[in-house]
Amino acid sequence: MKIRNHRDFWAGVMFLVFGLLFIVLSQQYTLGTAAKMGPGYFPTVLGGIMALLGLLIAAGGLGASAQSLRIDRMQLRPITLILGGVLLFAFTLPRLGMVLSLVLLIGISALATHEFRLRDTLISIVVLIALAWVVFVWGLELQFPVWPPFLTK
């Protein structure tokens, strides 16, 4: 048995794992009966359906007739810098305020592309923060600190 369609096989495995995970997690809730469904009933049924679909998909990637397909290589730079920027933004917004957390978000995420240009990024930071100020602070009056709270207190 050889994996021919890697995308199908691993997608199937993923669904199988998710299905089993939901089945296991659902067992801590009352199952009930069909006439009196408990909170665990529907998730257990769905988890079972998904595990079956997962098996079906994974099996489809194994057969000799399956199309030979590999999974595209993952590039580390975009995903870590984009999501790292978002993570840092969420962490710093209440602690450092909107302006500094946006500098971090825009600065870090801008590095994710191969075509990074410092001048453009600096302009982006200034323009986007001004825009965010007008739209979110002044326009929608959102509740978050604009400057680091420890400075303004």
């Binding site: 998909i57 978000l105 982006s124 978050f144």
Partner: protein
Amino acid sequence: MGELITNLGIGFTAAMAGQNLLYCLIGVIFGTLVGVLPGLGPLATIAMLLPATYKMTDPTSALIMLAGIYYGAQYGGSTTAILVNLPGETSSVVTTLDGYQMARRGRAGPALAIAAIASFIAGTFATFLLAAFAPPLAELAFKFGPAEYFALMVLGLIAAVVLAHGSVVKALAMVVLGLLFGMIGTDVNSGTARFSFDVPELSDGIEFAAVAMGMFGFAEIILNLEQKENREVFTSKVKGLMIKWVDFKEAFPAIVRGTGLGSVLGILPGGGAVLASFATYAMEKKLSKHPEEFGKGAIRGVAGPEAANNAGAQTSFIPMLTLGIPTTPVMALMVAAMMIHNIQPGPQVMSSNPTLFWGLIASMWIGNLFLVVLNLPMIGLWIRLLTVPYRVLYPAILLFCCIGAYSINNNVFDVFMTIPFAILGYVFKKLDCEPAPLLLGFVLGKLMEEYLRRALTISRGDATVFFTRPLSATLLGLAILLLIIVFLPAINKKREEAFQGD
């Protein structure tokens, strides 16, 4: 007929109210903007703006604006398709075939004009169709019990899966995964917090906007950045936006046929604008006396699909507005917007919120008018926007998504939640799994469970109830039939061909 006019009267009065008119305008301008920009779709934009609508006091304004973004994006998408040979939206993929060829032959002006006119004619027709068909459908929906609703949701989800592109089994698994994610949070019946791992924020469930932003906003950005960008803007000046009578006469039959086919396909779950434009192009090519002209700048190849995608975009509101069942991810976002304002989507919306219902319908016609009047003169601005490089664009998208996510509950928790969904969205794409069906399942999860529970409680646990009640049996029968059809080898092949350009 008299009733229709009264109803549309209510609608136009509501839609013409100063504030709503303004939101309609904002919506269509935003829509065109994201339609023009490749790499930013209406789904991500609506998810981005959804939190802003929570702050609006009037849900009518909110829905009018979000709807405007949706059909506005169809307009904008065709501009990019014609001028850059790059579809701004998936529904304008076919427009690139002949639209770009027209532009290359110096006929960019007529191509843009006929696309706008075709969209307007189709939009007008579809608006009236929506107004005429919504009441009888809602009437029918009042006969529905829990069993029928459950069956209808099964049919809706299966049809959405069958008509979407890609593997049907994978899409089914994505729907189920969406349903399961929808289970997260407090169970209304027992009060148990399910799958919340003692995180208080999770006991309220996962925010829909956070899921959509992560999967469609962030994951898209990451995937776009993995590819090298090559975008060549058609720099030659666009002239002659006034269309010649001969061109219009040539295109008109295609507009009529595209409108008809698009309207019908739009109502079908999952069909919407994309399928409509593909099907119409194929039909026009078959019907044409000169099929060899297609792909070389045939005006009918632009007019037909453009009419179809706009008509389809409009009529895909029918199942959402009358039955409360979203058939496309964008409609799922609309449902989320309604629920935020404590409006339970379903057949009762028409009687309980007539100004919202009819106002939204009327606003679509007004929005279409705005699009024609505004877009043709503003074409220069849109062209200039196309030259904005992606490296400048994506940090702005990130910023609006992040602050948008925060503003849902004034809590950074929802910003954190976008990250796992971005990773999931990224993995799904790498494994050839379309994330759209997951979103449909996510919105319907709790509702489906509730209807299943009620139906089975009434029948004392007897599952045959779904097949002994005629309406529910018909709906489920249709769902099964669809599944059988799609797995027949011959049909399966045809289906793959229909989506090959996607």
